[in-house]
Symmetry: C2
Subunit: 342 residues, 2 copies
């Protein structure tokens, strides 16, 4: 077969605030690949099916010399992130054409991995689509389930405040907390999202753009657990309305991703209220909980007992637009890009 285009999304320029599609990232069609003839040298040829677009990716769109918890994307190179791929050819033991793998994949249509060490073989529940395996059944679902299990110390009738409650992580946290008998206060940035959070069982759901978080927490708190996806003023408000020995699960701080993090105004409340703050990266706690997740959560997702929404875009060239939507919160549900059908 003749070589075909191997589309890629390249990191082109460091953004100053929000990423700009076509400038921060560009869709490039200059590379090509001969799927039949390309030598694998013992490796695996993958066809990328779906790619996840997540809030944390903004932090990687930076100058290389700036240190952070994840490496910077390389200018001129493809982005990368969580995804699912189909094995087209394999020279690796234990991996064969037709298998599916999850991994941290470059944002390009076809890719050769030198071995299987960075890939995980994965089977799909026939009731779920591959997009869900980078969403509720994948990293965001893992994040919600595993960090809640590890850090929440939740007890029935406690009060939890969940931010970005309509997102893939927050919406799972709401449902897990309700199933465990907690009172749930949840925030998001549109009336549509508020309705979705209510439909998931949130006892108090509000639009943070039109309702003052501090007032809501004063009225419906104080809180025992805070699930933080936001940081900034909202974190300050949560601390001021926390009970003694409240647990703060620090999942992310999207308020600071585009233009800088705000300082924490009242760090003295940490000792004054005996607060417990838990930063984490899901990769470190996954081994402890992955079997329980697969046994407990996947069947509930497949049976509709745990609900989720997805905002699916089609085509690798949409990555830039989707990244911007995720930073602005204009997506509705887990943002996924379908790169190719099988």
């Amino acid at each position: 077969m003749a070589p075909i285009t191997n589309g890629r999304v390249l990191f082109n320029a460091v953004p100053t605030d929000y990423p700009v599609p076509g400038k921060t990232t560009v869709y490039d069609t200059s590379a090509s690949i001969d799927l039949d003839a390309v030598p694998l040298n013992g490796g695996i040829l993958l066809k990328v099916l779906v790619l996840s677009v997540d809030p944390y990716m903004r932090g990687r769109l930076r100058e290389t010399h700036i240190e952070s918890y994840l490496p910077a994307f390389q200018l001129g190179e493809p982005l990368n992130g969580d995804g699912i791929a189909l094995v087209l050819r394999s020279e690796c033991d234990g991996v064969k054409a037709g298998d599916h793998v999850r991994g941290h994949l470059p944002h390009q249509e076809y890719i050769i991995f030198p071995d299987r060490s960075a890939l995980t073989l994965i089977e799909r529940d026939p009731r779920l689509s591959w997009t869900t395996y980078v969403g509720a059944a994948g990293m965001p679902g893992h994040t919600a389930y595993m960090a809640w299990a590890e850090y929440s110390k939740a007890k029935k009738d406690e009060v939890v405040f969940v931010t970005t409650g309509a997102g893939p992580v927050g919406s799972m946290v709401i449902q897990i907390a309700k199933q465990q008998g907690l009172k749930v206060i949840a925030s998001a940035g549109s009336e549509e999202k508020v309705e979705f959070m209510k439909s998931l069982g949130a006892d108090v759901a509000f639009n943070y753009k039109t309702t003052d978080t501090m007032q809501v927490l004063k009225e419906h708190g104080p809180i025992d657990i805070y699930w933080d996806n936001v940081g900034g003023d909202v974190l300050d408000a949560a601390m001021q309305n926390a009970k003694r020995f409240a647990r703060f699960i620090e999942c992310g701080m999207i308020s600071g991703y585009n233009g800088g993090y705000q300082p924490m105004k009242h760090p003295d409340l940490i000792f004054g209220k005996c607060l417990q703050f838990h930063g984490f990266l899901v990769g470190y706690i996954r081994p402890k909980y992955i079997d329980a997740f697969n046994a407990e959560i996947i069947p509930k997702l497949a049976a509709g007992e745990l609900r989720f929404t997805e905002d699916v875009s089609y085509g690798l060239d949409k990555i830039g637009d989707v990244m911007l939507a995720v930073q602005k919160g204009t997506n509705t549900g887990k943002a996924v890009v379908v790169v190719a059908q099988e």
Copy 2:
């Protein structure tokens, strides 16, 4: 016997920054008591022997309407704090004249407690003096030992940074950490204190007034554990030089007690580095650890295997001066006021 003076230290005016002896607090001799004739109504008459003066007390010298983790002192009323007293008379079962008690005592020479619920009977190891029972063998010792046991998750060869390392809490933390095989970086505010910390075994001891904390941590870190008695810039520096999954034991933030707390500059490091922050009040963890403390630590203190220093003042009228010294860090060793001999 005729009535005698019952000296008291009264909270007289809210300070704007450092407390001012004679203005913030006044020593008052207007009250009197007849020790033989005063009716107890089923209670206990105490003669106060020693009182502890601690950094946290600054936070209670405030307007009553301002909320905080401990109640404000009442204007016109005696201060109160940890202390040891001798029982002069008792109408309570299980408590008799000649017994000794520990409790949260008003700052006055003689006091009647209505019952024994707020007092703990205490026996002294003959090799230790009563002053030590509000220091290394009391609340500060409890704080160091118990919070370390509960939160440090210390492992041999890890690196801990201890602030106010010459104080009663920090000096105990240094010694416990060294006994457990950690590398200890410790800071304090004078050359004399630096020498003391070195004599306790600190691997790196420095004067934060003349040496840049950030540079020390860059050179001798990164750190696995931070024992925070300081807050402010030092907390920021510790966060920037922390390893992934470092534990922050938030014991206090004396940099903010006189004039206001600084914000935390980089709260994003909490999730970026998976930091774990543990606020606590020793009273909540004491029940879990008090037996172990009495079995393990008291004998080591008595035998000189754990060292401590005390800065003892004599006379209830010295309380105001000692409070100021503790806030300014000019005391050398645990600040204790001996109110009376037995």
